[in-house]
Structure formats: C-alpha cells, structure tokens
C-alpha cells in the first residue's frame, strides 16, 4: 500500500516541481511572489487543449499512451503561448510597477492579474472541467503493489527530461548562466555587462513554459479547470520555499517532497487534511532550517 501512495506522490510531485521551478525563478529574479503564476499554468493547459481540438482531438496514439504526436506539438505550442502571455503581462503591469520598487504592490497586482486571467478562462472556455481525451487509462501493475497508467509514467519521464534539460541550460549555456547570475545578484550582473531586462524577459519565457507544461501534465493526469493553477499555487509556494527560495534544485526537491508527503499522509490522517500537510511540512522545515533544504544562508 505504501508503495502505491509513494508512486502517486511522485506523479503529483513531478508536476508540482515543474511549476515550482518557474515560480522560484520569477520570485528570485523579480523579487516578488507572483500569484499570477498559477494562471499561467491554467492558460497553458487550455492552450494545449485548444491545439488538440484544432487537430481534431487525440485520435492516433503513441504506444500505450492516450495521445499521439499532435499532443506533443500541443505541449510545445502551449509553452510558447504561455510565454507570450507572461511577457505581455510583464510588459503591461509588472514592468511598470517594478519601477516604483514596492514589493507588495507587485504581489497584490499579481493577485489582480490572477483574478482577471482565471475568469477570462471562464468567459472563453467555460467553467466546466475539460479533458484531453475521453479515454481513461486503467492503471497497470508495474511493480508489486504499484499500479500506474502509461500517461503517468510519461508525465514523470517528461518531468525528468525537462529537469535535466533545465540543468544543462542553466549550467552550460551563456543565457542560463546569466539567468542564475541575475537571480543571484541583479545589480552585480548589470555591472558585469549582462542586460538584465533581457534576462528578465527570458525568465518569463522559461517560467511561463514550465508552468504551461506543468499545467498540461495536470490536465493529462487529472483535469483541465480554470481554477487548477490557483488551487495548486499554495503547493507550488510550499515547494519553492521548502526547497529554499531561489534554488532551482531546491524547488524540484521541494515539489517531490510535497507531493509524496501529501499522498503518504493519507495513511495517517484523514485525506481531508491533505492540503494542510504541505504547509505544516514547510513550517517545520523552516523552523529547523529557515533557509529551506537547499537554500543558502540569508545574509
């Protein structure tokens, strides 16, 4: 039984991890808690749904998966469209407010933006949940006591691929290193000749894309819903802080820990308290190590 919950937790955790990475990137570089991040996630899921519809639904399928190549294309398209949305949002709202340099104004504005974006989905796509495919995959035993669906394995696999890709991007490419530099110390990056505004734009692209992919993952394994991103936001924040805010690897670890802990908790307490597990865990970690698991000491 424990193995099954663990497997559930890993599936949940991998999607949370991707969302949390985007959040921690924007949090650290732009220095505010972006409540609109959840809306990027929802919009990403809906963008992909739209593309899938354009291709006439998911008909041909790859192997045991519930979808075909158009869906892979839809993921890429959704990432692009979510990036554009993030850039527009930054240009219209956050860019202007950054100048006034009042952090909480940005937070409240991002909440306003999240209200707006979430309800735009309701207006455009309707409030009902949507699914990429009408087919439901029946979980198959992969290990003794562990049943998963091929789609769930795909989600975990995609998360692993993206995390590795992100790692290579951040440690091997000029832009990736510049992004880490700006996130570490924006003014030092500026005087080193890095165009911080350019990096900020790329941060939105990376964060928005990862949010969109996380949204598609939830859409694939759970449902597509206007509120999905907002409902996940607290999990994402907990994951980012648990891992140490600003630390990309911390966010990944935090996402997995939160996902696994939330699902395992059902063994001990009523599932009704599941959402609280993330927060309690986060606070316990903060009490022991205020900078998070992988966070460095606050100066």
């Amino acid at each position: 039984m424990i193995a099954q919950y663990l497997a559930n937790g890993i599936v949940l955790g991998s999607s949370i991890a991707l969302g949390a990475v985007g959040l921690t990137l924007t949090y650290n570089i732009l220095n505010f808690a972006n409540f609109a991040h959840g809306s990027l996630l929802s919009w990403g899921a809906y963008f992909a749904w739209l593309v899938v519809l354009v291709f006439g639904g998911v008909q041909s399928t790859i192997g045991p998966l519930s979808f075909g190549w158009p869906f892979i294309l839809a993921i890429v398209a959704a990432a692009l469209m979510a990036s554009v949305l993030a850039l527009v949002l930054d240009w219209l709202v956050f860019r202007v407010l950054r100048k006034s340099n009042i952090q909480v104004t940005l937070v409240i504005a991002s909440f306003g933006a999240s209200l707006l974006l979430r309800n735009l989905i309701v207006v455009v796509f309707g409030p009902e949940p949507q699914y990429y495919s009408d087919n439901i995959q029946i979980a198959q035993p992969i290990l003794p006591g562990v049943r998963t669906t091929p789609d769930e394995l795909f989600v975990v696999g995609l998360a692993v691929v993206l995390v590795i890709g992100l790692h290579l991007f951040l440690t091997r490419t000029r832009l990736g290193k510049a992004m880490r530099a700006v996130s570490d110390n924006a003014s030092l990056a500026q005087v080193s000749g890095i165009n911080v505004h350019n990096v900020v734009r790329w941060t939105w692209v990376v964060g928005g894309s990862l949010a969109a992919v996380a949204g598609v993952m939830f859409g694939l394994t759970v449902q597509i819903l206007p509120d999905m991103g907002f409902n996940l936001l607290l999990f994402l924040f907990s994951a980012a802080i648990l891992g140490g805010i600003g630390s990309i690897y911390g966010a990944i670890l935090g996402g997995l820990v939160i996902g696994i802990a939330a699902d395992l908790s059902v063994l001990f307490i009523s599932p009704a308290y599941k959402p609280a597990v993330a927060f309690i865990l986060m606070i316990v970690v903060l009490l022991i190590k205020p900078s998070g698991i992988l966070g460095e000491k606050v100066q």
């Binding site: 290193k177 880490r180 570490d184 110390n185 990056a189 005087v191 080193s192 000749g193 890095i194 165009n195």
Partner: protein, 244 residues
C-alpha cells in the same frame, strides 16, 4: 596612448537617488591612464554615490561623465562594460551560488572570444582561484571572495577598474593582501579608481587622491602630499599631524 591620457573625466556631476535631492553636487574627478586614484571623505560625503553614478547605477541629474573621451552620462550599466569600465561593488560583489569559474565567466559576459585565455591569465594572477574554480563563491572566505570579485572585473580587460571600499570588513592582514592585489592589477596596465575608508592604506598605494565632502571634491593632490596634509589628518585622526 601616453601615460598622461585621461581615462575618466567627471565633470560637474550632480546625482542622487531621488530627483531634486542630489547627493553629488557638482563633483569633478579626473583619472589618467595607469594611475591609482583614491577618493577619500567622511561618511555621507557621496563617495559611493560617485562611483555608482559613473557605473550607471545612480541617476545623474546634471554634468557629464566621459570615459576615454566618450560621453557615457546616464548610459545603462550593462552597456558600460563594453566601453572598458569594470566595477567591483563594496558588498555582495560575487555571485554566491555560482562557482568561481562561473563568476569569472560572467565577468567576460560581453566578450565574444578569448575567454579561455583570459581565464588562464586570471588564474595566473590569482593562483588560489585556480584551485577553487569549482567551488561556489558564496562558500569562500572574505579575502578569497575579494579575489574572485577582482578577477571577475578583470575578465573583460577593462581600461578602468573602479573599486568601492575594497578593504571594508577585512582583517588587517587581508587588507594588506587586497592592496597588494590592487597594485598587481595596476601593473598589468589597468587604471584604477577606488573609494576607500582606510585612507592611509589606500593612499600608500595610490598616485593621487581626492577628498570629497558634501557632494563635491574639496582637495586634490598627489597621494604622498595628501598623506602629510594636516587637514586630511584631522579628518581621519582628529589631529593636525597628517596620516604618517
């Protein structure tokens, strides 16, 4: 270029964080090629503001800054590196989460080529760094961090290196080491402008110095003259005897 070419000229500059509240009120500074110039002054005199205004980090309201005869007044900071200006801030002057080598690479961000060669040259200048190249800079000691900061700034082979209080917060032993490094850097042909609290140590390695007060330079002289100047002595030691 001869020894007396002017690398940096700050002409009657007014600058500050809030419009209408200038901290610099018409400051004039000149730095010639190959010099080490130190700017001294009491707390709140505007020393750091001066250096940040030159680097493009503080808005300039009036006056002119030229680097190698090119007007750079009010240019965004990231564009100045390409003009040959490097700057080492007083605090937080390394990327904590990046390795030493990545810190140096970030210094060379604007370079298109010759990064590997320049890395080797920097390691040659600071052999300690070669050993620590894979370590995150945030985990290094204060003195090592200062070396990384210097190294990062030097990666672009700048014409002018600006240092904001390089000795701040270091133990006396390390202060000596840092100023040795400064001299070493100058000997590779880099012109240096620094702001320093530790007037004596700063002036000892400098060619010239300025004393800044109330947002304007009050004194300008050769470093050895300033060291003996009773006014400077009074400012720092409270006695009329000069710093030596």
């Amino acid at each position: 270029m001869s020894q007396n070419d002017i690398v940096l000229r700050v002409d009657n500059v007014e600058a500050g964080y809030t419009p209408g509240v200038p901290i610099l009120r018409g400051a004039n500074i000149e730095v010639r090629s190959g010099e080490i110039v130190t700017v001294l002054g009491p707390n709140g005199a505007g020393k750091s503001t001066l250096i940040k205004a030159i680097a493009g980090l503080v808005p300039i309201f009036g006056g002119k800054v030229s680097l190698l005869d090119k007007d750079i007044t009010g240019r965004p900071p990231h564009t100045l590196v390409r003009e040959g200006l490097a700057y080492v801030p007083q605090v937080n002057n390394v990327f904590h989460r990046l390795t030493v080598e990545e810190n140096l690479e970030m210094g060379a961000f604007t370079r298109k080529s010759g990064i590997a060669r320049r890395l080797e040259e920097t390691y040659a200048l600071f052999p300690d760094l070669a050993r620590l190249r894979k370590h995150p800079a945030g985990k290094l000691s204060g003195g090592q961090r200062q070396m990384v900061a210097f190294g990062r700034a030097l990666m672009v082979e700048p014409r002018l290196l600006m240092l904001d209080e390089p000795s701040a917060g270091l133990s006396p032993k390390l202060v000596g080491m840092v100023f040795d490094n400064v001299k070493q850097v100058r000997d590779t042909g880099v012109t240096i402008l620094m702001v320093e609290q530790n007037a004596k140590a700063g002036l000892l390695i400098s060619d010239r110095g300025y004393v800044l007060a109330e947002g304007k330079e009050q004194l300008e002289d050769r470093a050895d003259a300033l060291l003996k100047n009773p006014e400077v002595g009074e400012l720092y030691l409270g006695s009329k005897g000069g710093l030596l």
